[in-house]
Symmetry: C2
Subunit: 388 residues, 2 copies
Amino acid sequence: MTVSTEDRLARAALSFIAEPGDTLLTRIVAACGPSGALEVIKCGRAPDGIARDPRERERLAVHLSGWRTRLPRADPEGDLTVCAKLGGRMICPGEAEWPTRLADLGEKEPLALWLRGPSDLRFTCLRSVAVVGSRAASPYGTRVAQDLGAELAERGWTVVSGGALGVDAAAHRGALAADGDTVGVFANGVDVAYPPRNDGLIAEMAKRALLVSEWPLGTSPTQLRFLVRNRVIAALSCGTVVVEADLRSGSLNTAEHARRLGRPLMAVPGPINSRQSRGANQLLRADEPAICVTGVTEVIEAVGRLGTDLAVRPRGPVLPRDELDAVTRRVLEAIPARGGAGPAQVAVRAGVDVPTVLGRLGLLSAGGFIERGRDGWRLPRHRKGRAA
Amino acid sequence: MTVSTEDRLARAALSFIAEPGDTLLTRIVAACGPSGALEVIKCGRAPDGIARDPRERERLAVHLSGWRTRLPRADPEGDLTVCAKLGGRMICPGEAEWPTRLADLGEKEPLALWLRGPSDLRFTCLRSVAVVGSRAASPYGTRVAQDLGAELAERGWTVVSGGALGVDAAAHRGALAADGDTVGVFANGVDVAYPPRNDGLIAEMAKRALLVSEWPLGTSPTQLRFLVRNRVIAALSCGTVVVEADLRSGSLNTAEHARRLGRPLMAVPGPINSRQSRGANQLLRADEPAICVTGVTEVIEAVGRLGTDLAVRPRGPVLPRDELDAVTRRVLEAIPARGGAGPAQVAVRAGVDVPTVLGRLGLLSAGGFIERGRDGWRLPRHRKGRAA
């Protein structure tokens, strides 16, 4: 789909005039188109049916007057020009780079996104995980976020986060360190390095990855904007992991968005005497508990396609057949398909010495691959019906 | 119920002759009585119907000959006398001190229990929690187990555990430190201080609390006995908490017993990079996940009676009405039942100054107690239908 210059300019103007995620504005744009919405704002009269109850009517009146106040200062052409000079771009719903997944936000889908960086937003988010958490991360949270970011990147998954201090920054850094892709979704313009302490990271992401914002250049973040922004983090990614969060962390808001969107919500367990893990641990106790994840394979299992991205359950000796070392596998393969065999027989068939065979038989037995019967070691009865 | 001297002696002999938890022996005792079971062992012939398939017939033959070998060395009178001299006692199913809860073990219910210590087993286990975990506990696990033991004791709950090094010992110690009751269930005779490093703790428990064993005096523990013992820990208590466990910890076996018995199974989350928390964290990921617990109130909520033992969910500002401080409560009570009120009005009605009122209104609003309407602060519409 191509977006007309008029519509593009109108969307750029709307992204300056209105705070994003506004259902009333979404309805106006759906009814009148983006340029039509600007007309509505100019004349201050919305078509019938936009506000559906007295409260919404009240809110619409307040918003229309607020938007109109900002309208004269809108300079969409200037914003787009400056953005292009920075190497950035603005994308609109329906364009090739627009992630279809964002439609799950319904009336809270962004009207436009401002991007900066070489990655293609839609493509990079196809396999992506949001890694979020406390700004005031503990060394544990920082370490876990960085490792998770790097390990996701190594497996071809994109790390989506909010570019904040603490967990967010560690996750982005981990992804970059592993030469992977990462998407920072900001509550400020993609030309603003916020928080200032992350300026190096943000510059690196602009050069090698991607910065995303619903707000045009020059916009500063506010508390409310962080919350509004969180829905985009949850909606862009296949699932959200809360690495470390105290009870009032904004990442719990992102978690709530992921849950509402029906995306897998995960939490990393942490020490119960660490304030910074209280929020994540509480997610594991919620009525609809978050999935407890203790490593990257478990994260990918939760967000990946069934069957292809299954985590190996770390259970002492129980290993899938593929994971057995060569000798153990030879011993397993020397167990006859029918009846049983003694260690000496197995040793001969496997070409492995008896002491080694004895050790491996114990291992295989503990792993459930074989069992001891009256006539020696044998495959378990139920084996045939089981995927190996 | 009173147990005849003959039956008591027979059970004491059986507890020496046979390993506990044997379903075949349970069936023989059910069919022939305890003394009859000794006769069966003497003559080496069980009644029809004890073994129900060829495998069980094979096992029964092996066991009967094994039991008969031990029979001549049984000295139940001597064992009971020595136990009594130590201040101990042996109890049998149906006696006043026998916990009825053990019947949930079905054919694996103990035939007798050897006790040492002043507490009444049945009474002390009425409100009890098993706190178990790794022998090789980290400082985190030790700390959590000790705190949990003490906090359970302070609330009148008994700590049941296995008397092992690490988590078990810390939980027992915590309970004793808080002057509470604690039950150590051992895989050895109650006169044997095992592990030796816990001898001081075990002596203290014998003096102030309770040692329990299925084995008569002088018995040493074996690997198998630890596993057999674990079912008793799970069955004696209202629920089991795994504090810290690596993937091969015996406490995961206790956890499995608790699950099978339908008792609440809980796990304390821990750092994912700590080997000692891997087992507990995996319990939180199981297909039937353990309940994630981060403190004593959550443990008691899981095992306690519904309604009376409910944990306060630690969620930033959301508090039940009872938990509000006096000033906040006055502000809440100054909100009119119908219509709304401004801060000044509320301040007059509550007798609290306006700046304080403003702060409390924000808190109450965040907690969902009040909302801001066109005519000022008011009670939310849905409030009436909600328990406060």
